[in-house]
Symmetry: C2
Subunit: 397 residues, 2 copies
């Protein structure tokens, strides 16, 4: 309990007074929300890597996934672990910090410094909790656009991200086509399916079933819905891995024993692994943020915002697209990416599409997948040349 309480206070500090840089917008500069009304004052926390060039043309915005954050390529202040995309971001890496100015901001509704349900509601002096407005992917993107304005950047060289990050990439290309030179949506979809919504609903119900959730008011109560959030994470985690990956990693291996115990102990390695995933998640993430961000993903349906025709979302796009899917991703399967590609083709947009063979499932976009690195490097180099920026081959000359 002591350990949990300490972590809770750490997380509240990160939510309200983050280690990251923050741009704060006063009540005079509110954010208009898709669901109606405005949010203000509000703040957006971010990290940057590399240097913005003189004509501000080398900025890449990376969009994080559901439980990700802005700490894409530095030690995470909450977990002490490396950044979530250090495989992709750094000197000489596909998103090369020696040539590009990389921005990653914490999404609206999250809990690492950008305004969300754990932030203080100025009307009450308490955390917003469920009084926080239900924000959407478009709201997240509009908040990011304000941050990009703050940097005086007119056009982003590239916007890239996987999963919920990919949804933001698609929304950027649809809402701000003139501000996105290149876009890379990875392992994502233009809308959430019934099965995706169903899994998210299980997670939300698991959180809300926990009496320590206290109708969202757990911060004041000094409790945390740890068990409910852990169950939610466990269920979600299964969907991030492929059946093949689970079989390869764990199979039916027993954990530290040679025979079943005929009990409810974690006999199997996969049980022990899942329990660990649940436990470690609750140490770093706010339960209400989990509710709001899953809801934002469920509501995402880009075609619906354009008369039901996805191609219309991209009809004036000059943006170059590279769409990436993974063969064993059953949460956002290749057919979801193909639907995006078909719409881009119908809109006459420039698009390349790569389906990467891997057994790593949805999480492949976060893992060591050489084909993803190669694809990204190739796309970024080609776009850089078209934009008059140095490509990775050039810098070796």
């Amino acid at each position: 309990m002591t350990h949990g309480a300490a972590t809770q206070s750490d997380r509240r500090n990160e939510a309200i007074d983050p280690s990251s840089a923050v741009v704060r917008f006063g009540a005079d500069a509110p954010l208009a929300l898709e669901g109606g009304g405005t949010l203000g004052p509000w703040a957006i926390a971010y990290q940057t890597y590399g240097t913005l060039n003189a004509d501000r043309s080398n900025a890449i915005l990376l969009c994080h996934a559901l439980t990700g954050d802005q700490h894409v390529a530095n030690e995470n202040p909450v977990t002490g672990k490396p950044g979530w995309w250090e495989t992709m971001v750094g000197p000489g890496k596909p998103f090369d910090t020696e040539r590009f100015f990389i921005i990653c901001s914490n999404v609206l509704g999250s809990c690492l410094g950008t305004t969300g349900p754990a932030s203080i509601n100025p009307d009450t002096g308490q955390a917003y909790a469920l009084d926080f407005p239900v924000v959407t992917i478009r709201d997240m993107v509009n908040a990011q656009a304000r941050l990009v304005d703050h940097f005086g950047i007119d056009t982003l060289f590239c916007v890239a991200g996987g999963s919920m990050g990919g949804m933001q990439v698609l929304e950027w290309a649809a809402t701000y086509p003139q501000r996105v030179f290149a876009a890379m949506p990875i392992a994502t979809a233009a809308k959430h399916t019934a099965q995706n919504i169903a899994f998210h609903e299980v997670g939300r119900q698991a959180v809300m079933a926990d009496p320590d959730w206290r109708k969202g008011r757990y911060l004041e109560a000094g409790t945390r819905p740890e068990k409910g959030l852990a169950v939610a994470r466990m269920a979600a985690h299964i969907t991030y891995l492929s059946e093949q990956a689970l079989h390869r990693k764990f199979g039916r291996n027993f954990q530290d024993r040679s025979a079943p115990t005929f009990s409810f102990d974690a006999d199997f390695e996969v049980e022990s692994y899942l329990r660990y995933q649940g436990r470690s998640f609750v140490e770093r993430f706010d339960a209400n943020s989990y509710l709001f961000l899953t809801r934002a993903m469920d509501y995402f349906d880009l075609a619906k915002d354009h008369g039901g025709v996805l191609a219309r979302a991209f009809q004036n796009a000059k943006t170059r697209f590279c769409v990436v899917s993974f063969t064993s991703d059953w949460l956002f399967p290749t057919r979801d990416s193909r639907a995006i590609v078909h719409a881009l083709n119908a809109a006459g947009a420039s698009v390349s599409f790569v389906e990467i063979e891997t057994d790593k499932g949805h999480d492949a976009f976060l893992l060591d997948v050489p084909e993803l690195f190669k694809t990204t490097r190739g796309f970024i180099d080609s776009a850089a040349r078209a934009r008059g920026l140095p490509a990775s081959g050039d810098s070796a000359l």
Copy 2:
């Protein structure tokens, strides 16, 4: 609460004093268990349909799935709904009650009259709860064999069932090859995969996370882990349906509204449906039974019991097999059935294999799937002729 309490007392009555016929075995006739030790006194509750013929050669044992019961073709005493396999069992149906004597018993560890965690532990006078032994699929089958002995039946004409029922069919054929003339394992596997175990573990953790579970002692406490069990059921239910079926039934349709509410209400039909599935399940099923039966499935690994070689499980089988899978079943996919078929072929057994094209997912075995009816009828008729019993064509003569 009043409604819940009434249902709880109904369920306890059904667990201890079921509407079904029951065979009770005294402490002098205990059941030896795979995990060691014995269970006794113990009871097995069952339903029968049709008439046993003079030479006792026309009996079909149907094995139910995880949350099924013995009420295969009559109104369920708990829910008031039709039996779970009325599509398949009845006069003139594939399991024809005019020609066969159909037996279905509640499995060991369940809560409809066969001894399980809700039964009274004679040592304490209270429900067993977690003091009930962790039983296995083989234990369930050994209990059924005692019931079959009770009827004076030497050889069952057929043993059939889907999912966990299919595991029992495989175990019957492996443990009592001389007592099974024909076997029909449907939508099942010879072992549970890591992904299957993972989903079950999420369900168990959801139940155990509910403070009303009270370490299993909820019956004495007068509570029920309704929320935890509902979450477990919701997660499991997603795995019983295919992504296509969820899309066809619900898609992204809103429930009784035309636009999102920007709240955590069940905006989408699929959310409302899942919540209903969770709520209705807790009215009819015992939470501890859910723990024990999921555990039994997780432990099932027929090859492991035969030196790691599945074919050895069937090496002396004279049984005729018909293995059935469904194209959209991702919980027990066709490759699991193919593994069974390969082993049967390697053992030189008689086997036919049918993969049925359907988008209904794992639950297809319970649904109106004409190809399943046709396959079953064909297999049963052919086996009946080989056994010297009337086939369905014959009875029309």
